[in-house]
């Protein structure tokens, strides 16, 4: 095809660049069962590891007898804390500045905690041997309530006894971890004292779990000849894992290769370092054989990182006509037995201080107290940026509670308090600089799309019908306008274990005009191989189909902090654009040389450089690539490649307007989502098909969390929701169809204006579903009720309001 016959638009379309609903390149493998997940990895002589876990939530470990287990043919080793202690590996550092037992060192602090690690020739023998390890426990008093923990004489962390200073400042009690304060306490209390109206409420965001369909696992393979350790695993941050393994094992970092193969969903669960990784590495070093460890579903739900568990006491002040004047929040955060939250170091409660949300609130104060209990450690960002779901749920509930107090429509209350488009960049009272937004436009579009006034009229009629005995079903209209904070983050204030949260991309253009790009991130279903190639295609004019994308191998990819907190597009996506621009800058010099004009006399045109004013004289990127390898160009090195390490100047602030229409049966507590409208503004849109997919999935996870999913404990610290029988994952049957929509407000500081989208639907979805339940009962007097809103709890709301006669 002669390039000259195509219009610039046609040439751009051929690239399948940004804005194109390009089909995913990953799917050809996945649809045929040819993915390569960690449990698919098989190495010669590979052994299997399995854990003996504590049945008790709090107990002393009196003795561990391995004899019977070691006598089983095929059992190679049984490791306990005693075996790891000489290596200094019986404890490991957490991401939150705490430390955590790898194997029980004298006591256990939660049910399911790792006590011993059995290594055997196959997984069946390992499981047999786990049953034969005899552990003697002495039960200790169990604390599952964080408020009780702060009053109790029982010391959970005896290893910290007497330490009044923690990683994040003073500890007030032996079960206290940290206090984190933001904003102006005195000014906020003064505003509350003088306000026309103050609404106060306890908002609890219950404990849940990311529960990706693939559990966590690894294969550790120590080559004793080369001295090199290869560690395959379900790692959302493979480079950080390499550094951590090096620091805690003493192996030189260049002798460690970490590979994240295909990952079957992460949602935050696969960010942290787990005992299984450490034990497998040790076992491989000791045996000289590869060792695989893959947890089962119960182990995943009981012991790997949970999410949420925030008790948020709130006060919101306003004038009598609804202008918010102040926000106060005190959060009691249940961190479980060890503080293993996955947050940037300086943010022990993550970005909870985004809790002023989408509103122009002049004065605010936030305090968070972290507390130890006898529950599993974690506190990861389950499909959200660090603690942003908690913040969004808090403010979106407080707005509703205030609307009740003011007897105002909650949509109107939001509208009069939104940050206005001309206030961006906006400095929030709790310390963030929001980059861009146009909340009023999004809100009006959403309300119009669902015929909000019509819905309110229908609801009013429904209430009358209910009171007249004509129906037993209520109608709830759930509203949410959320603002996310993603793309962590600027190295000046964001690090994990001292590693700055930049990210990276390296691009190599081959002589024939195709390319390979490698990033510091790792896809777990987001479709990076598809979308990042689109960014490069648009930036340098080579077809996305001719660009291979690789992630997850630390021996080949540039260093980066990985994929979580919707940071891939804001940070690595920016690095991708910047690396591509370096290539384009060199290509411009090559083109000018080939066209025998000055560098400034050529201009970029979709897929080529053309002489200014003479568009028929041009060199395509493909021609330039070849020239880079076969011509000696004065003043230029041969080749065409670039790498960029991008340190973002700010976070990005995606936002959205969600509306849910829910039918609720008062007598059974059953609910049905009649309509769900999701408007997302994630800035520049790279692949609308993938964005829609992300929104569908994120809202479905929100549906699960709001309507039934929880990690529940009884008073003995037993996990009551340890299988998929009890832990709610919606099926196709309960899940509604979603209407997706968008506005586009690009980020002013991101090279392509993109903000990230993967987690917005979970951040916005949870308050939206919860608000729908609350809204249905608002005419009957409900102010606040805790999630998850399963059928039983909804029935209890109705019963408590006297609706069952």
């Amino acid at each position: 095809m002669n390039d000259q016959t195509l219009t610039p638009e046609e040439r751009a379309a051929n690239l399948k660049g940004m804005g194109c609903a390009r089909k995913r390149v990953e799917d050809v493998r996945f649809t045929q069962g040819k993915g390569n997940y960690v449990d698919d990895i098989k190495l010669d002589g590979m052994l299997f590891g399995d854990f003996v876990r504590s049945p008790y939530a709090h107990a002393r470990v009196v003795s561990v007898n391995k004899e019977a287990a070691l006598a089983v043919p095929g059992v190679v080793a049984v490791l306990t804390a005693e075996d790891l202690a000489p290596l200094g590996l019986h404890w490991m550092p957490t991401l939150a500045g705490d430390k955590q037992m790898v194997l029980a060192d004298g006591k256990v602090l939660f049910q399911g905690q790792e006590v011993a690690y059995v290594v055997a020739e196959d997984r069946y023998i390992a499981a047999d041997a786990v049953e034969l390890v005899e552990v003697e426990y002495e039960e200790l008093p169990v604390i599952t309530d964080p408020f009780e923990a702060l009053k109790s004489d029982v010391v959970l962390r005896e290893d910290l006894e007497g330490q009044t200073e923690g990683a994040h400042g003073p500890r007030k009690h032996h079960n206290h971890i940290f206090t984190w304060e933001q904003g102006d306490k005195d000014a906020t209390e003064a505003v509350l004292a003088e306000a026309d109206v103050v609404a106060e409420e306890m908002v609890y965001y219950h404990r849940t779990h990311p529960c990706p369909l693939e559990t966590c696992g690894c294969v550790a393979s120590m080559d004793k000849v080369t001295g090199k350790l290869t560690l395959y695993g379900t790692f959302q941050a493979p480079h950080a894992i390499r550094t951590v393994v090096s620091l805690i094992s003493g192996l030189a970092e260049h002798n460690i290769r970490v590979i994240s193969p295909d990952i079957g969903g992460g949602f935050g669960n696969k960010v942290g370092a787990y005992a299984g990784y450490v034990c497998s590495v040790v076992a491989s070093i000791v045996t000289g054989k590869p060792v695989k460890w893959v947890e089962d579903r119960m182990e995943n739900l009981m012991s790997t990182a949970f999410a949420r568990d925030y008790w948020m006491q709130g006060k919101i002040a306003a004038t009598k006509d609804g202008k918010i004047t102040g926000l106060w929040c005190h959060t009691t955060a249940d961190h479980g037995g060890f503080d293993a939250c996955a947050d940037p170091t300086k943010f022990p409660a993550g970005f909870m201080n985004i809790c002023t949300g989408s509103y122009d609130i002049p004065t605010a104060y936030l305090a968070v107290d972290g507390v130890y209990t006898n529950k599993a450690p974690g506190g990861v960002a389950y499909r959200c940026s660090f603690r942003v779901t908690e913040a969004a749920y808090f403010i979106e509930r407080m707005i509703e509670v205030l609307a009740i107090k003011l007897n105002m429509d909650a949509a109107e209350l939001r509208r009069i308090n939104f940050i206005k488009a001309d206030q961006f960049p906006y400095q929030s009272a709790l310390g963030w600089e929001y980059d861009s937004g146009d909340y009023h436009t999004a809100w009006d579009k959403a309300l119009k799309a669902v015929d909000y006034d019509g819905l309110r009229a229908e609801q009013a009629q429904r209430v009358e019908d209910f009171k007249a005995g004509k129906t037993r079903k209520l109608l709830g209209i759930g509203l949410t306008h959320f603002t996310e904070i993603v793309g962590a983050g600027p190295v000046k204030n964001c690090d994990i274990l001292g590693l700055g949260m930049f990210d990276s991309c390296e691009i190599r253009i081959h002589p024939t005009g195709s390319a390979i790009a490698r990033l510091g991130t790792i896809s777990q279903g987001q479709g990076h191989a598809t979308t990042f190639a689109q960014i490069i295609a648009s930036e340098i004019g080579l077809p996305a189909d001719d660009i291979t994308l690789e992630e997850g191998d630390t021996d080949t990819a540039p260093y980066g902090l990985g994929t979580y907190g919707s940071r891939s597009t804001p940070v690595a996506g920016a690095a991708t654009a910047m690396a591509a621009r370096k290539i384009r800058a060199k290509a411009q010099m090559i083109a000018a040389y080939l066209l025998e004009v000055h560098d400034d006399d050529v201009e970029w045109d979709v897929d080529r450089f053309a002489v200014k004013g003479a568009p028929e004289r041009f060199k395509t990127m493909k021609e330039i690539a070849f020239a880079a390898y076969n011509q000696a160009i004065p003043g230029l090195e041969p080749g065409l490649e670039a790498v960029s390490y991008y340190d973002p100047p700010n976070m990005t602030y995606p936002f959205g307007a969600y509306i849910c229409v829910m039918e609720i049966d008062v007598d059974t507590g059953e609910w049905e989502v009649r309509k769900f409208y999701a408007l997302d503004d994630c800035g520049t849109r790279i692949n609308p098909m993938i964005i829609d997919g992300q929104v569908h999935g994120g809202v479905t996870e929100a549906l699960a969390i709001a309507m039934g999913q929880e990690i529940a404990y009884d008073e003995m610290g037993n996990v009551k929701t340890g299988t998929l029988m009890d832990f709610f994952l919606p099926t196709a049957w309960e899940t509604p169809n979603y209407i997706t929509d968008y506005t586009v407000t690009p980020s002013p500081h991101h090279p392509i204006g993109a903000k990230g989208v993967g987690e917005s639907p979970n951040v916005g979805g949870v308050p939206c579903f919860s608000n729908a339940v609350h809204d249905a009962f608002r005419p009957f007097g409900l102010v606040q009720s805790h999630m998850p809103h399963d059928h039983w709890r909804i029935w209890k709301i109705a019963n408590g309001l006297g609706m069952h006669g």
Partner: protein
């Protein structure tokens, strides 16, 4: 533990091997036969990532002993690719309609959808949602999976009509 002789037809090929009586079908497929399309997500029959087709029925292979299905005709997602190596209709429609993200549930989803469309070649949306309720997905929210299966039904019916 003593082993027993097992003979199966998997994706049209006769295979045999030795297995302990307690060996689960999913492990026999994945470890012995190196057929790693079916995945393990829960080991309690809830998630469906391990779904295979056994003698014309969808079965969760994580809670089936290989000894129970000795002599059976088994199809996994690998067997749904066309003979020329191109994607089968369901595989192609899942790709076309973005019916997958991380890909972990996909082999089970597609294998179940394959049987569903044999059971009911013209399913309504409701029938698809009901028929797929034994397979969990954490990424897609099902909307595009339903679309992909519906589109597959249309395409398979059109192909059938053209052949008649």
């Amino acid at each position: 533990m003593s082993k027993m002789h097992v003979k199966l037809t998997v994706n049209g090929k006769e295979v045999e091997g030795l297995a302990e009586p307690r060996t689960l079908l999913i492990h026999f497929l994945r470890e012995d036969l190196k057929i790693t399309g079916p995945h393990i997500g829960c080991e309690t029959s809830h998630c469906g990532a391990c779904t295979v087709d056994i003698d014309g029925k969808s079965v969760k292979s994580c809670t089936t002993f290989v000894a129970q299905v000795n002599g059976a005709d088994i199809t996994t997602v690998e067997g749904l690719t066309n003979d020329d190596g191109s994607l089968g209709v369901l595989q192609e429609m899942f790709r076309e309609h973005h019916g997958l993200q991380c890909g972990f549930c996909t082999p089970g989803m597609i294998t179940r959808a394959h049987r569903l469309l044999q059971e009911n070649p013209n399913p309504t949306e409701e029938e698809i949602r009901f028929g797929m309720a034994g397979n969990l997905c954490r990424c897609t929210g099902y909307q595009n999976i339903v679309k992909a299966i519906s589109a597959s039904a249309d395409m398979l019916n059109a192909q059938k009509e053209a052949a008649e």
